[in-house]
Every structure is written in C-alpha cells, then in structure tokens.
C-alpha cells in the first residue's frame, strides 16, 4: 500500500528534527550543519549559468518535498530489473531514503568486506568514512542541490573492500521512491588497493512527483578494479539531481555504466578523476527518453596523472518531445603527459519533436597527449529501413532492429550480461511506432 507523505519542506525546524533523530558522530553533525547553512545561503541555479542554460527547473517547488522521515518505509518495495538470474553477494534497499533491507553473504563479511546502509554503518566505521565523505570526490558546495544533499543525505550505501580481496559475486543496491517521497541516498564505495568488486545499483519508483537529490563517491585504489552500474529508472514524476564522482588511483580500473530511463527532469554531474599513473576509466551511458523527459548530463574526465586512459561512450535514443543534453569535458593537467582521452555521444532521434544537444569539450594543459571526441545526432536511416524491409521485416521490426543495433556498440563494452539484457529489454519495450 502506498502511503501519502505530508511534505515538511526544508525548514529549520524540519532540519533540527531530522538531526535530533539521528545518532551520528559529532564531525558528521557539524558537517551537516555547515552544509545546511550553505544550502540556505545559495540561490537555486538559474538559466544564466552555463550548466543550467538548457535545463528548466522553474516548475520545481522544493517546499512540496521534505526531509526523509522514519516510518515511511514498510510499503511494498518495487521490483528492480537489473539482477534477473544473478547470484548476488549482498544487497541493500532503501524506500524514500529509509533503509529497509541489507544483507551480505557471510563469506564476504569474513574477508573484511563491509556493505550496507551508510546510515547504519557510520558509527562503526566513522574514521574510514570521514576520510572519504565529501573530501576529494563530490564537492558539496558545487551548487544548492549538492549542499542540500550534503546536509540531508540518509539511507545510502557504503561498500568497503579490503586490500587484495576479490568479490566475485555482484553486490546490489536498490533505491526506491513512493508516494511522493524524497530520496537523499549517498553511495560511498571504497575499493582498497588491488581489490576488485562489482556493484549494481538501480532506482525505481511510482509516477507521483518526487525528489531525488543524491551523491555518489567511488574510490578506486591502486591496482583495484571496480565495475559500477547505476540505472536511473525512477517514475515519470521524479526530479533527479545528482553529483557523482569517481577517483581512480595508480593502475586502477573503473568501468562505470550508467543507464537512464526514468525521471521527469534529471541533472547529473558525472566526474571521473584519474589521480594515479596509468589509471583507466571506461564510462558507458545508455539513455532512452520519451514523453517530455529532460535529461542533462555533465561529464568530466579529469586527467591528473601521467599515462592515464579515459574512454566515454554515451548513446541515447529520444522519442516524443524528450530532450537529452550532454556536455562533456576532458581536462588534462600540465603534468598529465601521455594522456589518452576519448569521448563520444551519439543520439538517435525517433520523433520529430525530440532534441539532443551534444557539447564536447577539451581543456588540455599538457603537450604530449591524445584526446579526441565525437558526437552525432540523426534520425533512423531510411535506406537501412528499406533494406531491411526488402528482406521481409516490417517497418516497425526494421526500426526496432536498427535501434537495438545502435545501442549494441555500447552493450558490447558492458561485460555483465544481466545488465545488457535488462537495458535491452527496457529499451525494446519503449520503442513505439516510428514515422
């Protein structure tokens, strides 16, 4: 049963009550208070700011939402789509930012792996978390939403994999929104040197107006390997604001795949910092929008050390009157010689009224680098449709096949079969008649 949430708004009283209900280390309470003040002092971003020029949030009413409230859990948790047929090493789930389930297979716990709700692990791992939370990864002063998230984060997921441990079963995180709630989940992943893990994360929700104001911080140690998938699959009424950043150390490898299917408006900053020599990051994006959805992604591949590689491939298909904005930047510091950076954004426009903006950018301060970028946007090729029709495929079947083929290039990079399948099915279900 879905409960109706009475919004508290983001008032001082609501924040004080939120703090009072939490038993947290003093440093965290102080951090929250500081960021609360920053949140109150900052205006909502306006369209005069480059990052927000194409994203209209004038209809957002923050006072229609509120801080996470204990006791709003308990309703039926929606089903995720990511993990069909997969043996998981552990899972966490939150509903409206309140932890409702957490589990880790004993064999991983015995090897020192920590996985569960950030809320519930904060006291036990206070010092470790303190060194990583809002320090070098996400900047909680980036904008009003980052500050609000820093002050009010709750639920969330904490994953720590000790040095040299390989977790060969994927871990799973579900964040759900229901009945007009808010989600302030924060994900903090620390993969220590030479460790390896896969984390599959997804969101789910109903179509009532709701708010996600989240943060993701991924720390990949020296020689460590992290595969991280996050599928944004909120309902059609959700406002999604996210600050996400990964830091990859020397010889570390990150494969970060994002899927974006849901939300009414999404504004995401996805940053990757390559901070140790020969660090490697592959970023994959799969987006499918419809109706009047608006997704805006601002990616940064920041090369801070020598001989690092970053390779970003985003692919989006747009239906109806939806819009996808991508602004990508490869930034190479003066000392980051032998950088190999690549970014590409391809969009397939399935309806007359849809629009994609691709704005690649390079900012290079070293002289011995290879950085390239590309972007395409186009309709389904009539010649391809005709060719397939000449082989007996209906126009509809031809379009479906061509759209699936369009995404195949990015699916070919995703090694996790259940993720490929989930994204493929979700996209297949959404494609309608093409004219």
């Amino acid at each position: 049963m879905t409960q109706t949430i009475v919004p508290s708004g983001f008032t001082q009283a609501a924040f004080d009550a939120f703090l009072a209900a939490r038993r947290e280390p003093a440093w965290l309470t102080a951090q929250r208070r500081e960021l609360w003040e920053a949140f109150q002092a900052m205006p909502l971003p306006g369209r005069d700011e480059e990052e927000w020029r194409r994203t209209d949030i004038r209809l957002l009413r923050l006072d229609k939402f509120g801080l996470p409230v204990e006791g709003t859990g308990g309703a039926q948790l929606p089903e995720g789509v990511l993990t069909a047929g997969v043996t998981l090493g552990g899972r966490t789930a939150t509903l409206n930012s309140v932890p409702v389930a957490q589990q880790l297979a004993p064999k991983w716990a015995e090897r020192g792996v920590v996985f569960g709700s950030l809320d519930q692990l904060i006291n036990e791992h206070s010092e470790l978390i303190r060194r990583h939370l809002f320090t070098r990864a996400v900047n909680p002063h980036a904008d009003k939403f980052a500050a609000l998230h820093g002050a009010c984060w709750s639920g969330g997921t904490f994953l720590y994999v000790p040095r040299g441990v390989t977790v060969d079963e994927p871990l799973y995180q579900l964040s759900a929104l229901q009945g007009g709630g808010s989600d302030f989940s924060h994900t903090l992943v620390i993969v220590d040197d030479d460790a390896e893990v896969t984390l599959l994360a997804e969101t789910a929700g109903d179509d009532t107006p709701s708010l996600h104001c989240g943060g993701i911080e991924l720390w990949v140690g020296a020689g460590a390997r992290l595969q991280y998938v996050n599928l944004q699959n909120w309902g059609s009424g959700t406002w999604h604001f996210g600050h996400q950043k990964a830091l990859v150390g020397r010889d570390g490898q990150l494969q970060w795949t994002i899927g974006a299917l849901g939300a009414r408006v999404a504004k995401v900053n996805q940053h990757v910092g390559l901070i140790g020599q020969r660090a490697n990051a592959q970023v994959n994006g799969v987006m499918f929008t419809e109706g009047r959805q608006h997704l805006s992604y601002h990616t940064l591949q920041h090369h801070e050390a020598e001989s690092c590689q970053s390779d970003l491939l985003y692919k989006g298909a747009l239906q109806d009157h939806s819009r996808i904005v991508w602004r990508g930047m490869i930034k190479v510091d003066p000392n980051a010689q032998k950088t190999d950076g690549y970014q590409r954004d391809d969009n397939l426009i399935l309806s007359e009224g849809a629009r994609a903006d691709s704005i690649p950018g390079l900012e290079i301060e070293a002289d011995d680098v290879r950085c390239t970028h590309g972007a395409t946007a186009g309709r389904v090729d009539d010649q391809q449709i005709f060719y397939a029709q000449c082989r007996g495929l209906t126009r509809n079947e031809a379009v479906r096949m061509i759209v699936a083929g369009f995404f195949q290039q990015v699916f070919d990079r995703i090694r996790i079969e259940c993720v490929r399948e989930a994204l493929g099915h979700a996209i297949g279900r959404r494609i309608r008649e093409y004219d």
Binding site: F386, A388, Q389, R391, E397, M401
Partner: protein
C-alpha cells in the same frame, strides 16, 4: 497456375525527374533474363521500383505478381509485403546496419518470408534449425562461419557484401530475384562461384533478372532472354547471343539503332552531370 511477374508501361521518377519511361517486362518463374545497358540507363531504378523504394515514384504503369493462386497489385504493397510474397532484390550497394548481427537479421528475415502471415512479436524459427541451415548454406558459398557473427554489411569488402547478398538469396529462396550487378567488385574466381551458387539456389525454381555488364555471371545462368535498356526503356530483347554481343562490342550498335532513346540517355546523363556540378545530385 504459372507464377509471373508482369511489368507494364512502368514510368518512374526520382526527385521529380523521369528515369523510367515505359518499361515492359514479363518474368516467369523458372526463367532467367539478363538486363543490360549503359550506366544510368535505369536498370537499378527498375530494381528499386519493383521493391517499392520510397524515393522512386511510380507515375504510370503497373506491376502485377501472379503467385499462390492470386494476382497481387505489387505497387499497392509495402516493400516487406513484396519480400514476403516472394520478390527479392540483391542490392548493388547493400546497406550496413551497425550493431545487428548477420545471423539475427537473417533469422528474422527468413522467419517472415517463410511465414508471411506471422505477426510482429511471434516466435522466430527455432535457433537450432536456423543455425544448422545457415551453416550449411555458408559452407556451400565457402563463407567463413565468423561471417554470421559480424554486423550486417558493416566493414564488409565489396566482395563480402555481394556474397552476403547471395547468402540471403539462398536463405530466403524467393520466387523472383533481381540481381543488381551482383558480379561487380568480385574477382574472376568469386564471380564464377557466385554464378554457380545462383544456379544451384535458383535452378529452374526461380524467375531471375540478372542486371550485369558482363557475361561471367551468365555462364551458369544462361538467359532465355536478354533485354537492353537505353534512356529509360527496354529497346531490344533477344536471346543469350545478345548478351554476348553487348559484352564484347558495347552499345554503339544499339545507340545507332535507337537514336531517340540514345538522345534521351544523353540528356539524362547531361542533366545528371549538371546536377552533380551544382552539388544537388
């Protein structure tokens, strides 16, 4: 009942410009016809018009297909309906479809052509049976098994594309096939193999219209009829000896015998060149 593809007085325009100006052709199942003619005379246009390419507007004339005990108005059918009714075009320049594996594409195509009544979303032919048949056909065409896993025509060489077209012909087994310069881009050995393969696939079972400039493809597919197209019309029809003559001596005799069509051809290629210079072609 005989199965016949009948083209009557077919006029076709592209971007408002007339290309075909009254083509008549009767192709019976079991017959092989050669269609020859200089570049730009309208041979490929005929192939596209028969399949229903949206860029090729039929302004006059009819195409009828007598098959399965009924007469179909081909011009009223979608390209995929024509394919499912048993008409096939081997493209001179096939399209690539990135990300779609040859095997998946062909499994879908084969299912639809063999079960013309199939509704979207209904089962495809079983993977096992399909793979077995595909593998056998590929061996017959001396194609590497890896071919099936590649994306449709993506990064194929000219010769690979043509062999892929023949593979599709072999899998779909149409009643009528138009082969548009299936020999171009192939070396001598490959043309011979293609010629043999087409004969094996087709035998006496297909009506084949072979568009070619050469006689090699006709080696194993001796045409009962050879048609010469000039200026958007078929100006002369003869037997296999006509194909040999044109291959050896070119079109000078034809142009001299049909000055009106030759003038049309000259005008068409002139306006094509002018358009190309303006960058609008």
């Amino acid at each position: 009942m005989a199965e016949i593809l009948t083209i009557k007085d077919l006029h076709v325009s592209v971007d408002g410009k007339p290309i075909l100006k009254g083509v008549n052709l009767v192709l019976r199942r079991g017959e092989t016809h050669a269609l020859m003619g200089p570049n730009g005379s309208g041979k490929s246009t005929l192939g596209y018009a028969i399949m229903g390419h949206p860029g090729y507007e039929v302004t006059q004339g009819t195409i009828e297909l007598e098959a399965d005990g009924a007469t179909h108005d081909v011009l009223a059918m979608e390209p995929d309906e024509r394919a499912r009714a048993g008409v096939f075009l081997a493209f001179q320049r096939p399209m690539s479809i990135p990300g779609v594996k040859m095997a998946d594409f062909l499994r879908h195509a084969t299912t639809n052509v063999r079960n013309p009544q199939r509704k979207e979303g209904e089962d495809l032919i079983p993977m096992r049976d399909f793979r077995k048949e595909l593998r056998a056909k590929m061996e017959q065409l001396k194609m590497d098994a890896e071919f099936a896993r590649r994306y449709v025509n993506e990064g194929f060489s000219g010769g690979e594309m043509k062999r892929a077209e023949i593979l599709q012909l072999a899998m779909l087994r149409p009643k009528f096939a138009i082969l548009d310069e299936t020999d171009s881009g192939l070396d001598v050995d490959a043309v011979r193999l293609a010629s043999q393969s087409i004969a094996e696939i087709g035998g006496a079972d297909m009506g084949i219209l072979i568009i070619t400039h050469h006689d090699k493809l006709l080696e194993h597919n001796r045409p009962q009829y050879t048609h010469v197209m000039l200026g958007g019309r078929i100006v002369e029809t003869g037997g296999p000896e006509l194909a040999e003559e044109l291959h050896q001596r070119g079109y000078d005799r034809i142009r001299a015998a049909y000055p009106e069509a030759a003038a049309e051809e000259a005008a068409m290629s002139k306006s094509e060149n002018a358009a190309a210079q303006l960058g609008v072609a």
